[in-house]
Symmetry: C2
Subunit: 296 residues, 2 copies
Amino acid sequence: LWTGCMMRDIMLKAKPKNAARFVWMEGGDNPANGPYGTSVRLCWVMDPERSIMLAYKQNGSFLSPDHGRPFRAIIPGVIGGRSVKWLKKIIISDVPSNNWYHYFDNRVLPTMVTPEEAKKNKQWWKDERYALYDMAVQSAIWKPSNNETVTVDGEDDDNTVSVSGYASNGAGVRVGRVEVSLDKGRTWKLADIDYPEDRYREAGHIKLFGGLVNVCDRMSCLCWCFWKISIPKKELFVAKDIVVRAMDERMCIQPRDMYWNVTSMMNNWWYRVAIRKDGPNVIRFEHPVLANKKGG
Amino acid sequence: LWTGCMMRDIMLKAKPKNAARFVWMEGGDNPANGPYGTSVRLCWVMDPERSIMLAYKQNGSFLSPDHGRPFRAIIPGVIGGRSVKWLKKIIISDVPSNNWYHYFDNRVLPTMVTPEEAKKNKQWWKDERYALYDMAVQSAIWKPSNNETVTVDGEDDDNTVSVSGYASNGAGVRVGRVEVSLDKGRTWKLADIDYPEDRYREAGHIKLFGGLVNVCDRMSCLCWCFWKISIPKKELFVAKDIVVRAMDERMCIQPRDMYWNVTSMMNNWWYRVAIRKDGPNVIRFEHPVLANKKGG
Protein backbone atom coordinates (compact mmCIF):
# COMPACT_ATOMS: atom_id res chain seq x y z
CA LEU A 1 0.00 0.00 0.00
CA TRP A 2 1.40 3.29 -1.12
CA THR A 3 1.05 6.77 0.38
CA GLY A 4 1.52 9.91 -1.68
CA CYS A 5 -0.46 12.23 -3.87
CA MET A 6 -2.25 11.59 -7.14
CA MET A 7 -0.14 12.76 -10.08
CA ARG A 8 -3.40 14.05 -11.56
CA ASP A 9 -3.59 16.69 -8.83
CA ILE A 10 -0.08 17.87 -9.67
CA MET A 11 -1.05 18.14 -13.34
CA LEU A 12 -4.18 20.13 -12.48
CA LYS A 13 -1.95 22.63 -10.67
CA ALA A 14 0.55 22.67 -13.53
CA LYS A 15 -2.26 23.45 -16.03
CA PRO A 16 -0.78 21.71 -19.12
CA LYS A 17 -1.26 23.41 -22.50
CA ASN A 18 -3.72 21.99 -25.05
CA ALA A 19 -0.93 20.34 -27.01
CA ALA A 20 0.41 18.45 -23.97
CA ARG A 21 0.26 14.67 -24.44
CA PHE A 22 3.01 13.01 -22.37
CA VAL A 23 4.43 13.16 -18.86
CA TRP A 24 8.19 12.57 -18.80
CA MET A 25 9.83 11.33 -15.61
CA GLU A 26 13.53 11.26 -14.85
CA GLY A 27 15.29 9.55 -11.93
CA GLY A 28 18.23 10.75 -9.84
CA ASP A 29 20.25 7.64 -10.64
CA ASN A 30 23.11 7.47 -13.11
CA PRO A 31 23.44 4.21 -15.07
CA ALA A 32 25.61 3.80 -18.18
CA ASN A 33 23.43 5.86 -20.53
CA GLY A 34 22.57 8.79 -18.23
CA PRO A 35 19.74 9.09 -15.68
CA TYR A 36 16.87 6.65 -16.23
CA GLY A 37 13.84 8.31 -17.78
CA THR A 38 10.65 7.47 -19.57
CA SER A 39 7.14 8.82 -20.14
CA VAL A 40 3.48 7.87 -20.04
CA ARG A 41 0.42 9.49 -21.60
CA LEU A 42 -0.91 12.60 -19.87
CA CYS A 43 -4.48 11.31 -20.38
CA TRP A 44 -3.62 8.24 -18.28
CA VAL A 45 -2.30 10.46 -15.50
CA MET A 46 -5.56 12.45 -15.68
CA ASP A 47 -7.76 9.32 -15.57
CA PRO A 48 -8.74 8.57 -11.94
CA GLU A 49 -9.24 4.90 -12.92
CA ARG A 50 -5.53 4.59 -13.70
CA SER A 51 -4.65 5.68 -10.13
CA ILE A 52 -1.22 7.03 -11.07
CA MET A 53 0.50 8.50 -8.04
CA LEU A 54 3.65 10.05 -6.67
CA ALA A 55 4.54 8.05 -3.57
CA TYR A 56 6.78 8.76 -0.58
CA LYS A 57 5.65 5.91 1.73
CA GLN A 58 5.15 2.16 1.34
CA ASN A 59 3.04 0.31 3.93
CA GLY A 60 3.31 3.32 6.23
CA SER A 61 7.11 3.71 6.19
CA PHE A 62 9.08 6.23 4.20
CA LEU A 63 10.45 4.63 1.04
CA SER A 64 13.70 2.73 1.45
CA PRO A 65 16.50 3.71 -0.96
CA ASP A 66 15.88 0.46 -2.90
CA HIS A 67 12.27 1.46 -3.47
CA GLY A 68 13.02 4.92 -4.74
CA ARG A 69 13.46 7.25 -1.73
CA PRO A 70 12.42 10.02 -1.45
CA PHE A 71 9.85 9.94 -4.30
CA ARG A 72 8.77 7.47 -6.93
CA ALA A 73 6.02 7.15 -9.50
CA ILE A 74 3.45 4.36 -9.02
CA ILE A 75 1.78 3.39 -12.30
CA PRO A 76 -0.38 0.32 -11.67
CA GLY A 77 -1.19 -2.14 -14.44
CA VAL A 78 1.73 -0.88 -16.50
CA ILE A 79 5.15 -2.46 -16.95
CA GLY A 80 7.36 -1.66 -13.94
CA GLY A 81 9.87 0.29 -16.01
CA ARG A 82 7.48 3.25 -16.18
CA SER A 83 7.31 3.62 -12.39
CA VAL A 84 10.42 5.79 -12.11
CA LYS A 85 12.33 5.72 -8.79
CA TRP A 86 14.34 8.53 -7.16
CA LEU A 87 12.15 10.83 -9.19
CA LYS A 88 13.87 14.16 -9.82
CA LYS A 89 12.17 15.74 -12.82
CA ILE A 90 8.64 15.72 -14.27
CA ILE A 91 8.27 17.33 -17.70
CA ILE A 92 5.05 17.76 -19.66
CA SER A 93 5.53 17.48 -23.42
CA ASP A 94 3.76 16.97 -26.73
CA VAL A 95 6.04 14.02 -27.60
CA PRO A 96 7.23 10.89 -25.75
CA SER A 97 10.42 11.02 -23.66
CA ASN A 98 13.69 11.14 -25.59
CA ASN A 99 15.60 9.34 -22.85
CA TRP A 100 17.88 6.50 -23.99
CA TYR A 101 16.07 3.98 -21.78
CA HIS A 102 12.69 5.04 -23.08
CA TYR A 103 13.78 3.98 -26.57
CA PHE A 104 15.95 0.96 -25.92
CA ASP A 105 14.14 -0.74 -23.05
CA ASN A 106 10.68 -2.27 -22.63
CA ARG A 107 9.78 -2.77 -26.29
CA VAL A 108 8.17 -5.65 -28.16
CA LEU A 109 9.53 -5.39 -31.69
CA PRO A 110 7.63 -7.19 -34.48
CA THR A 111 8.32 -10.90 -34.57
CA MET A 112 10.26 -10.83 -37.87
CA VAL A 113 12.87 -8.34 -36.56
CA THR A 114 16.01 -10.39 -35.92
CA PRO A 115 18.68 -9.44 -33.35
CA GLU A 116 20.94 -8.37 -36.25
CA GLU A 117 18.24 -6.19 -37.82
CA ALA A 118 17.38 -4.67 -34.42
CA LYS A 119 21.02 -3.78 -33.84
CA LYS A 120 21.53 -2.34 -37.32
CA ASN A 121 18.36 -0.31 -37.70
CA LYS A 122 17.62 1.89 -34.68
CA GLN A 123 14.34 3.03 -36.21
CA TRP A 124 12.62 -0.13 -34.97
CA TRP A 125 13.13 1.13 -31.41
CA LYS A 126 11.67 4.57 -32.03
CA ASP A 127 8.18 3.52 -33.12
CA GLU A 128 5.99 4.27 -30.09
CA ARG A 129 3.57 1.52 -31.15
CA TYR A 130 6.13 -1.09 -30.09
CA ALA A 131 6.66 0.44 -26.63
CA LEU A 132 5.37 -1.61 -23.72
CA TYR A 133 2.95 0.01 -21.31
CA ASP A 134 -0.05 -2.04 -20.18
CA MET A 135 0.63 -5.59 -19.06
CA ALA A 136 -1.04 -8.42 -20.99
CA VAL A 137 -3.49 -10.90 -19.48
CA GLN A 138 -1.55 -13.66 -17.75
CA SER A 139 -2.18 -16.72 -15.58
CA ALA A 140 -0.15 -19.43 -13.87
CA ILE A 141 -0.56 -22.53 -11.73
CA TRP A 142 0.76 -22.47 -8.14
CA LYS A 143 -0.71 -25.71 -6.80
CA PRO A 144 0.06 -28.56 -7.25
CA SER A 145 3.64 -27.36 -6.98
CA ASN A 146 6.64 -28.66 -8.87
CA ASN A 147 7.43 -32.35 -8.17
CA GLU A 148 4.37 -32.71 -5.93
CA THR A 149 2.99 -36.28 -6.19
CA VAL A 150 -0.55 -37.62 -5.86
CA THR A 151 -1.56 -41.23 -5.29
CA VAL A 152 -4.62 -42.39 -7.16
CA ASP A 153 -6.18 -45.29 -5.28
CA GLY A 154 -8.34 -46.86 -7.95
CA GLU A 155 -10.26 -46.43 -11.17
CA ASP A 156 -13.36 -45.31 -9.29
CA ASP A 157 -11.45 -42.84 -7.10
CA ASP A 158 -13.60 -39.74 -6.84
CA ASN A 159 -11.25 -37.73 -4.64
CA THR A 160 -10.21 -34.43 -6.09
CA VAL A 161 -7.04 -32.39 -6.23
CA SER A 162 -7.29 -28.65 -5.70
CA VAL A 163 -5.59 -26.84 -8.58
CA SER A 164 -4.99 -23.13 -8.03
CA GLY A 165 -2.96 -20.15 -9.14
CA TYR A 166 -3.04 -16.47 -9.96
CA ALA A 167 -4.06 -14.35 -12.91
CA SER A 168 -3.41 -10.72 -13.69
CA ASN A 169 -3.95 -8.09 -16.34
CA GLY A 170 -2.91 -4.56 -17.18
CA ALA A 171 -4.67 -1.25 -17.70
CA GLY A 172 -7.07 -1.84 -14.80
CA VAL A 173 -9.01 -4.38 -16.86
CA ARG A 174 -10.44 -7.23 -14.77
CA VAL A 175 -9.63 -10.87 -15.51
CA GLY A 176 -13.04 -12.13 -16.57
CA ARG A 177 -12.53 -15.88 -16.57
CA VAL A 178 -9.85 -18.51 -16.01
CA GLU A 179 -10.13 -21.82 -17.83
CA VAL A 180 -8.27 -25.09 -17.31
CA SER A 181 -7.79 -27.87 -19.86
CA LEU A 182 -6.72 -31.48 -19.41
CA ASP A 183 -6.70 -32.29 -23.14
CA LYS A 184 -4.33 -29.65 -24.57
CA GLY A 185 -7.07 -27.10 -25.19
CA ARG A 186 -9.77 -29.21 -26.81
CA THR A 187 -12.15 -28.73 -23.86
CA TRP A 188 -12.01 -26.38 -20.88
CA LYS A 189 -13.28 -26.21 -17.30
CA LEU A 190 -14.18 -22.92 -15.61
CA ALA A 191 -12.28 -22.01 -12.42
CA ASP A 192 -13.62 -19.90 -9.54
CA ILE A 193 -11.93 -16.52 -9.17
CA ASP A 194 -11.38 -14.49 -6.02
CA TYR A 195 -10.50 -10.78 -6.38
CA PRO A 196 -8.82 -9.85 -3.06
CA GLU A 197 -8.79 -6.12 -3.84
CA ASP A 198 -12.59 -6.17 -3.75
CA ARG A 199 -12.29 -6.69 0.05
CA TYR A 200 -10.98 -3.12 0.27
CA ARG A 201 -13.98 -1.92 -1.71
CA GLU A 202 -16.37 -3.70 0.59
CA ALA A 203 -14.61 -2.18 3.61
CA GLY A 204 -15.20 1.37 2.36
CA HIS A 205 -12.86 4.29 3.07
CA ILE A 206 -10.66 2.87 5.80
CA LYS A 207 -7.48 4.29 7.29
CA LEU A 208 -4.48 1.99 6.92
CA PHE A 209 -0.84 2.87 7.68
CA GLY A 210 -1.87 6.48 8.19
CA GLY A 211 -3.23 6.70 4.63
CA LEU A 212 -6.70 6.39 3.16
CA VAL A 213 -7.46 3.22 1.17
CA ASN A 214 -9.42 4.71 -1.70
CA VAL A 215 -9.78 1.73 -4.01
CA CYS A 216 -13.57 2.04 -3.52
CA ASP A 217 -13.60 5.24 -5.60
CA ARG A 218 -12.80 3.38 -8.81
CA MET A 219 -13.95 0.36 -10.84
CA SER A 220 -10.61 -0.57 -12.35
CA CYS A 221 -8.98 -3.79 -11.21
CA LEU A 222 -5.29 -3.24 -10.59
CA CYS A 223 -4.18 -6.28 -8.57
CA TRP A 224 -3.71 -10.00 -9.07
CA CYS A 225 -6.63 -12.31 -8.58
CA PHE A 226 -6.57 -15.93 -7.44
CA TRP A 227 -8.29 -18.87 -9.11
CA LYS A 228 -9.10 -22.37 -7.91
CA ILE A 229 -10.73 -25.51 -9.27
CA SER A 230 -11.20 -29.06 -7.97
CA ILE A 231 -10.28 -31.78 -10.46
CA PRO A 232 -11.04 -35.49 -9.87
CA LYS A 233 -7.87 -37.54 -9.35
CA LYS A 234 -8.90 -40.03 -11.98
CA GLU A 235 -9.13 -37.29 -14.62
CA LEU A 236 -5.62 -36.13 -13.77
CA PHE A 237 -4.39 -39.73 -13.91
CA VAL A 238 -5.28 -40.09 -17.58
CA ALA A 239 -4.24 -36.56 -18.63
CA LYS A 240 -0.85 -35.57 -20.05
CA ASP A 241 -0.86 -32.06 -18.61
CA ILE A 242 -2.84 -29.24 -16.99
CA VAL A 243 -3.06 -26.09 -19.06
CA VAL A 244 -4.46 -22.76 -17.85
CA ARG A 245 -5.46 -19.62 -19.73
CA ALA A 246 -7.21 -16.41 -18.71
CA MET A 247 -9.49 -14.08 -20.66
CA ASP A 248 -10.09 -10.50 -19.62
CA GLU A 249 -13.34 -8.53 -19.49
CA ARG A 250 -12.57 -7.19 -22.95
CA MET A 251 -12.52 -10.82 -24.20
CA CYS A 252 -8.78 -10.74 -24.90
CA ILE A 253 -7.47 -14.22 -24.32
CA GLN A 254 -4.00 -15.61 -23.64
CA PRO A 255 -2.64 -17.05 -26.88
CA ARG A 256 -1.78 -20.72 -27.30
CA ASP A 257 1.67 -19.96 -28.72
CA MET A 258 4.52 -17.61 -27.92
CA TYR A 259 5.08 -14.37 -29.84
CA TRP A 260 8.81 -14.42 -30.55
CA ASN A 261 10.40 -11.01 -30.06
CA VAL A 262 13.92 -9.75 -29.77
CA THR A 263 13.58 -8.53 -26.17
CA SER A 264 11.66 -11.69 -25.19
CA MET A 265 9.09 -9.60 -23.37
CA MET A 266 5.36 -9.75 -22.76
CA ASN A 267 4.92 -13.37 -23.60
CA ASN A 268 1.78 -14.79 -22.09
CA TRP A 269 1.03 -18.10 -23.76
CA TRP A 270 -0.91 -20.81 -21.89
CA TYR A 271 0.80 -22.01 -18.70
CA ARG A 272 1.34 -25.79 -18.71
CA VAL A 273 2.15 -28.25 -15.93
CA ALA A 274 3.16 -31.70 -17.20
CA ILE A 275 1.80 -34.83 -15.51
CA ARG A 276 4.34 -37.68 -15.19
CA LYS A 277 3.62 -41.25 -14.13
CA ASP A 278 5.78 -42.20 -11.12
CA GLY A 279 4.71 -45.83 -10.72
CA PRO A 280 1.42 -47.60 -11.40
CA ASN A 281 -0.80 -45.28 -9.30
CA VAL A 282 1.34 -42.21 -8.61
CA ILE A 283 1.41 -39.06 -10.71
CA ARG A 284 3.94 -36.24 -10.38
CA PHE A 285 3.52 -32.63 -11.52
CA GLU A 286 6.29 -30.86 -13.38
CA HIS A 287 6.33 -27.06 -13.82
CA PRO A 288 7.97 -25.36 -16.81
CA VAL A 289 9.82 -22.87 -14.57
CA LEU A 290 10.86 -23.00 -10.92
CA ALA A 291 10.30 -20.12 -8.52
CA ASN A 292 13.38 -18.80 -6.72
CA LYS A 293 15.73 -20.97 -8.73
CA LYS A 294 18.61 -19.91 -10.91
CA GLY A 295 17.36 -19.96 -14.50
CA GLY A 296 13.82 -20.47 -13.24
CA LEU B 1 -19.25 12.35 -38.23
CA TRP B 2 -21.62 12.99 -35.36
CA THR B 3 -22.87 16.25 -33.86
CA GLY B 4 -24.16 16.45 -30.32
CA CYS B 5 -22.87 17.05 -26.84
CA MET B 6 -20.48 15.03 -24.74
CA MET B 7 -22.34 12.85 -22.26
CA ARG B 8 -19.62 13.80 -19.77
CA ASP B 9 -20.92 17.38 -19.75
CA ILE B 10 -24.41 16.14 -18.94
CA MET B 11 -23.02 14.08 -16.06
CA LEU B 12 -21.09 17.06 -14.71
CA LYS B 13 -24.38 18.97 -14.57
CA ALA B 14 -26.18 16.00 -13.00
CA LYS B 15 -23.50 15.78 -10.25
CA PRO B 16 -23.66 12.00 -9.61
CA LYS B 17 -23.30 10.80 -6.02
CA ASN B 18 -20.09 9.09 -4.85
CA ALA B 19 -21.64 5.65 -5.18
CA ALA B 20 -22.65 6.17 -8.84
CA ARG B 21 -20.98 3.66 -11.16
CA PHE B 22 -23.20 3.08 -14.23
CA VAL B 23 -25.14 5.12 -16.76
CA TRP B 24 -28.36 3.38 -17.86
CA MET B 25 -29.89 4.28 -21.20
CA GLU B 26 -33.36 3.37 -22.42
CA GLY B 27 -34.82 3.74 -25.91
CA GLY B 28 -38.29 4.84 -26.97
CA ASP B 29 -38.82 1.65 -28.99
CA ASN B 30 -40.92 -1.29 -27.90
CA PRO B 31 -39.66 -4.73 -28.94
CA ALA B 32 -40.94 -8.02 -27.43
CA ASN B 33 -39.36 -7.63 -24.00
CA GLY B 34 -40.06 -3.95 -23.35
CA PRO B 35 -38.05 -0.87 -24.41
CA TYR B 36 -34.41 -1.62 -25.27
CA GLY B 37 -32.04 -0.58 -22.53
CA THR B 38 -28.49 -1.15 -21.36
CA SER B 39 -25.74 0.59 -19.42
CA VAL B 40 -22.05 1.52 -19.53
CA ARG B 41 -19.63 2.54 -16.78
CA LEU B 42 -19.91 6.10 -15.55
CA CYS B 43 -16.09 6.34 -15.48
CA TRP B 44 -16.05 5.68 -19.24
CA VAL B 45 -18.56 8.45 -19.81
CA MET B 46 -16.35 10.76 -17.71
CA ASP B 47 -13.17 9.82 -19.62
CA PRO B 48 -12.59 12.31 -22.48
CA GLU B 49 -10.57 9.64 -24.33
CA ARG B 50 -13.69 7.47 -24.64
CA SER B 51 -15.51 10.32 -26.47
CA ILE B 52 -18.99 9.15 -25.46
CA MET B 53 -21.62 11.52 -26.80
CA LEU B 54 -25.29 12.20 -27.16
CA ALA B 55 -25.86 12.88 -30.86
CA TYR B 56 -28.66 14.56 -32.80
CA LYS B 57 -26.96 14.94 -36.19
CA GLN B 58 -25.00 12.63 -38.49
CA ASN B 59 -22.81 14.17 -41.21
CA GLY B 60 -24.59 17.49 -40.69
CA SER B 61 -28.17 16.23 -41.06
CA PHE B 62 -30.61 15.59 -38.25
CA LEU B 63 -30.72 11.88 -37.46
CA SER B 64 -33.01 9.78 -39.62
CA PRO B 65 -35.52 7.58 -37.78
CA ASP B 66 -33.38 4.53 -38.63
CA HIS B 67 -30.41 6.10 -36.94
CA GLY B 68 -32.19 6.97 -33.72
CA ARG B 69 -33.98 10.31 -34.21
CA PRO B 70 -34.14 12.56 -32.25
CA PHE B 71 -31.29 11.47 -29.92
CA ARG B 72 -28.92 8.53 -29.69
CA ALA B 73 -25.87 7.56 -27.69
CA ILE B 74 -22.54 7.23 -29.54
CA ILE B 75 -20.11 4.99 -27.69
CA PRO B 76 -17.09 4.43 -29.93
CA GLY B 77 -14.92 1.32 -29.66
CA VAL B 78 -17.71 -0.51 -27.86
CA ILE B 79 -20.13 -3.08 -29.25
CA GLY B 80 -22.96 -1.32 -31.11
CA GLY B 81 -25.64 -2.60 -28.73
CA ARG B 82 -24.57 -0.03 -26.12
CA SER B 83 -25.21 2.95 -28.43
CA VAL B 84 -28.92 3.24 -27.62
CA LYS B 85 -31.17 4.83 -30.27
CA TRP B 86 -34.38 6.87 -29.74
CA LEU B 87 -32.91 7.66 -26.35
CA LYS B 88 -35.63 8.54 -23.86
CA LYS B 89 -34.19 7.99 -20.38
CA ILE B 90 -30.74 8.28 -18.80
CA ILE B 91 -30.44 6.96 -15.24
CA ILE B 92 -27.33 7.04 -13.06
CA SER B 93 -27.03 4.02 -10.76
CA ASP B 94 -24.66 2.06 -8.53
CA VAL B 95 -25.46 -1.18 -10.41
CA PRO B 96 -25.65 -2.19 -14.12
CA SER B 97 -28.96 -1.84 -16.00
CA ASN B 98 -31.64 -4.39 -15.12
CA ASN B 99 -33.16 -4.24 -18.62
CA TRP B 100 -33.97 -7.60 -20.24
CA TYR B 101 -31.73 -6.84 -23.23
CA HIS B 102 -28.84 -5.85 -21.00
CA TYR B 103 -28.84 -9.36 -19.55
CA PHE B 104 -29.75 -11.53 -22.51
CA ASP B 105 -27.96 -9.80 -25.36
CA ASN B 106 -24.29 -9.10 -26.14
CA ARG B 107 -22.66 -11.63 -23.84
CA VAL B 108 -19.77 -14.06 -24.33
CA LEU B 109 -20.50 -16.93 -21.94
CA PRO B 110 -17.62 -19.24 -20.99
CA THR B 111 -16.80 -21.79 -23.67
CA MET B 112 -18.05 -24.84 -21.70
CA VAL B 113 -21.57 -23.40 -21.28
CA THR B 114 -23.75 -25.37 -23.72
CA PRO B 115 -26.99 -24.01 -25.26
CA GLU B 116 -28.97 -26.28 -22.89
CA GLU B 117 -27.09 -25.08 -19.81
CA ALA B 118 -27.46 -21.44 -20.90
CA LYS B 119 -31.21 -21.90 -21.31
CA LYS B 120 -31.64 -23.70 -17.99
CA ASN B 121 -29.47 -21.56 -15.75
CA LYS B 122 -30.14 -17.82 -16.15
CA GLN B 123 -27.33 -16.96 -13.71
CA TRP B 124 -24.77 -17.31 -16.51
CA TRP B 125 -26.34 -14.23 -18.14
CA LYS B 126 -26.21 -12.07 -15.03
CA ASP B 127 -22.45 -12.14 -14.44
CA GLU B 128 -21.27 -8.72 -15.62
CA ARG B 129 -17.82 -10.17 -16.42
CA TYR B 130 -19.33 -11.94 -19.43
CA ALA B 131 -20.99 -8.78 -20.81
CA LEU B 132 -19.54 -7.46 -24.03
CA TYR B 133 -18.35 -3.86 -24.14
CA ASP B 134 -15.04 -3.13 -25.83
CA MET B 135 -14.49 -4.70 -29.25
CA ALA B 136 -11.55 -7.09 -29.63
CA VAL B 137 -8.63 -6.57 -32.02
CA GLN B 138 -9.63 -7.72 -35.48
CA SER B 139 -8.27 -7.76 -39.03
CA ALA B 140 -9.36 -8.93 -42.47
CA ILE B 141 -8.15 -9.09 -46.05
CA TRP B 142 -9.98 -7.00 -48.69
CA LYS B 143 -7.64 -7.43 -51.64
CA PRO B 144 -7.16 -9.72 -53.50
CA SER B 145 -10.92 -10.20 -53.46
CA ASN B 146 -12.81 -13.46 -53.60
CA ASN B 147 -12.23 -15.43 -56.83
CA GLU B 148 -9.69 -12.90 -58.10
CA THR B 149 -7.01 -14.65 -60.18
CA VAL B 150 -3.35 -13.88 -60.76
CA THR B 151 -1.14 -15.23 -63.54
CA VAL B 152 2.41 -16.07 -62.57
CA ASP B 153 4.60 -15.83 -65.64
CA GLY B 154 7.62 -17.83 -64.57
CA GLU B 155 9.78 -19.11 -61.77
CA ASP B 156 11.82 -15.91 -61.73
CA ASP B 157 8.75 -13.65 -61.76
CA ASP B 158 9.48 -10.80 -59.38
CA ASN B 159 6.19 -8.97 -59.86
CA THR B 160 4.24 -8.46 -56.69
CA VAL B 161 0.59 -8.57 -55.68
CA SER B 162 -0.72 -5.88 -53.37
CA VAL B 163 -2.47 -7.50 -50.41
CA SER B 164 -4.55 -5.15 -48.25
CA GLY B 165 -7.35 -4.95 -45.74
CA TYR B 166 -8.54 -3.29 -42.55
CA ALA B 167 -7.92 -3.76 -38.85
CA SER B 168 -9.77 -2.39 -35.87
CA ASN B 169 -9.85 -2.51 -32.11
CA GLY B 170 -11.98 -1.42 -29.19
CA ALA B 171 -11.57 0.85 -26.19
CA GLY B 172 -9.66 3.48 -28.17
CA VAL B 173 -6.57 1.24 -28.24
CA ARG B 174 -4.55 1.58 -31.45
CA VAL B 175 -3.76 -1.40 -33.68
CA GLY B 176 0.01 -1.60 -33.24
CA ARG B 177 0.96 -4.03 -36.00
CA VAL B 178 -0.55 -6.20 -38.70
CA GLU B 179 1.30 -9.34 -39.75
CA VAL B 180 0.77 -11.63 -42.73
CA SER B 181 1.82 -15.27 -43.02
CA LEU B 182 2.14 -17.50 -46.09
CA ASP B 183 3.07 -20.62 -44.11
CA LYS B 184 0.15 -20.96 -41.66
CA GLY B 185 1.75 -18.87 -38.95
CA ARG B 186 5.28 -20.22 -38.90
CA THR B 187 6.77 -16.96 -40.16
CA TRP B 188 5.24 -13.50 -40.56
CA LYS B 189 5.73 -10.38 -42.68
CA LEU B 190 5.01 -6.88 -41.35
CA ALA B 191 2.39 -4.82 -43.21
CA ASP B 192 2.31 -1.01 -43.46
CA ILE B 193 -0.57 0.61 -41.60
CA ASP B 194 -2.39 3.84 -42.41
CA TYR B 195 -4.54 5.46 -39.71
CA PRO B 196 -6.99 7.72 -41.59
CA GLU B 197 -8.32 9.36 -38.42
CA ASP B 198 -4.85 10.84 -37.87
CA ARG B 199 -5.57 13.10 -40.89
CA TYR B 200 -8.16 14.88 -38.74
CA ARG B 201 -5.57 15.34 -36.01
CA GLU B 202 -3.09 16.83 -38.47
CA ALA B 203 -5.79 19.20 -39.76
CA GLY B 204 -6.38 20.64 -36.28
CA HIS B 205 -9.74 21.99 -35.09
CA ILE B 206 -11.66 22.23 -38.34
CA LYS B 207 -15.33 22.94 -38.91
CA LEU B 208 -17.13 20.17 -40.78
CA PHE B 209 -20.89 19.80 -41.31
CA GLY B 210 -21.43 22.69 -38.89
CA GLY B 211 -19.65 20.82 -36.10
CA LEU B 212 -16.14 20.92 -34.73
CA VAL B 213 -13.91 17.93 -35.47
CA ASN B 214 -12.21 17.55 -32.12
CA VAL B 215 -10.37 14.28 -32.58
CA CYS B 216 -7.15 16.25 -32.04
CA ASP B 217 -7.99 16.68 -28.35
CA ARG B 218 -7.46 13.01 -27.61
CA MET B 219 -4.93 10.23 -28.17
CA SER B 220 -7.35 7.32 -28.36
CA CYS B 221 -7.79 5.59 -31.70
CA LEU B 222 -11.46 4.95 -32.36
CA CYS B 223 -11.63 4.17 -36.10
CA TRP B 224 -10.55 1.42 -38.45
CA CYS B 225 -7.08 1.51 -39.94
CA PHE B 226 -5.97 0.15 -43.29
CA TRP B 227 -3.00 -2.12 -43.93
CA LYS B 228 -1.11 -3.03 -47.08
CA ILE B 229 1.79 -5.24 -48.12
CA SER B 230 3.37 -6.26 -51.43
CA ILE B 231 4.00 -9.97 -51.81
CA PRO B 232 6.02 -11.44 -54.69
CA LYS B 233 3.85 -13.51 -57.05
CA LYS B 234 6.19 -16.46 -56.84
CA GLU B 235 5.78 -16.62 -53.05
CA LEU B 236 2.00 -16.67 -53.43
CA PHE B 237 2.28 -19.37 -56.09
CA VAL B 238 3.85 -21.85 -53.67
CA ALA B 239 1.73 -20.88 -50.63
CA LYS B 240 -1.49 -22.61 -49.54
CA ASP B 241 -3.08 -19.50 -48.05
CA ILE B 242 -2.63 -15.92 -46.82
CA VAL B 243 -3.29 -15.45 -43.12
CA VAL B 244 -3.50 -12.08 -41.36
CA ARG B 245 -3.48 -11.17 -37.67
CA ALA B 246 -3.29 -7.87 -35.80
CA MET B 247 -1.78 -7.00 -32.43
CA ASP B 248 -2.79 -3.91 -30.50
CA GLU B 249 -0.61 -1.41 -28.64
CA ARG B 250 -1.25 -3.35 -25.44
CA MET B 251 0.33 -6.42 -27.18
CA CYS B 252 -2.99 -8.29 -27.29
CA ILE B 253 -2.94 -10.46 -30.38
CA GLN B 254 -5.67 -12.12 -32.42
CA PRO B 255 -5.81 -15.79 -31.43
CA ARG B 256 -5.13 -18.60 -33.91
CA ASP B 257 -8.31 -20.47 -32.98
CA MET B 258 -11.94 -19.58 -32.34
CA TYR B 259 -13.35 -19.25 -28.83
CA TRP B 260 -16.59 -21.21 -29.03
CA ASN B 261 -19.42 -19.44 -27.20
CA VAL B 262 -23.16 -19.84 -27.12
CA THR B 263 -23.92 -16.43 -28.65
CA SER B 264 -21.15 -16.88 -31.23
CA MET B 265 -19.91 -13.35 -30.56
CA MET B 266 -16.56 -11.60 -30.45
CA ASN B 267 -14.64 -14.17 -32.39
CA ASN B 268 -11.51 -12.74 -33.86
CA TRP B 269 -9.28 -15.59 -34.96
CA TRP B 270 -6.81 -15.14 -37.83
CA TYR B 271 -8.42 -14.25 -41.17
CA ARG B 272 -7.45 -16.70 -43.93
CA VAL B 273 -7.72 -16.49 -47.70
CA ALA B 274 -7.09 -19.81 -49.44
CA ILE B 275 -4.94 -19.97 -52.59
CA ARG B 276 -6.21 -22.39 -55.28
CA LYS B 277 -4.35 -23.48 -58.41
CA ASP B 278 -6.45 -22.73 -61.52
CA GLY B 279 -4.15 -24.18 -64.15
CA PRO B 280 -0.35 -24.45 -64.37
CA ASN B 281 0.40 -20.74 -63.79
CA VAL B 282 -2.84 -19.25 -62.46
CA ILE B 283 -3.76 -18.89 -58.81
CA ARG B 284 -7.20 -17.95 -57.48
CA PHE B 285 -8.02 -16.48 -54.06
CA GLU B 286 -10.90 -17.82 -52.01
CA HIS B 287 -12.32 -15.91 -49.03
CA PRO B 288 -13.96 -17.62 -46.04
CA VAL B 289 -16.97 -15.26 -46.14
CA LEU B 290 -18.45 -13.14 -48.91
CA ALA B 291 -19.45 -9.53 -48.43
CA ASN B 292 -23.08 -8.67 -49.25
CA LYS B 293 -24.03 -12.30 -49.84
CA LYS B 294 -26.70 -14.25 -48.08
CA GLY B 295 -25.01 -16.34 -45.40
CA GLY B 296 -21.76 -14.46 -46.01
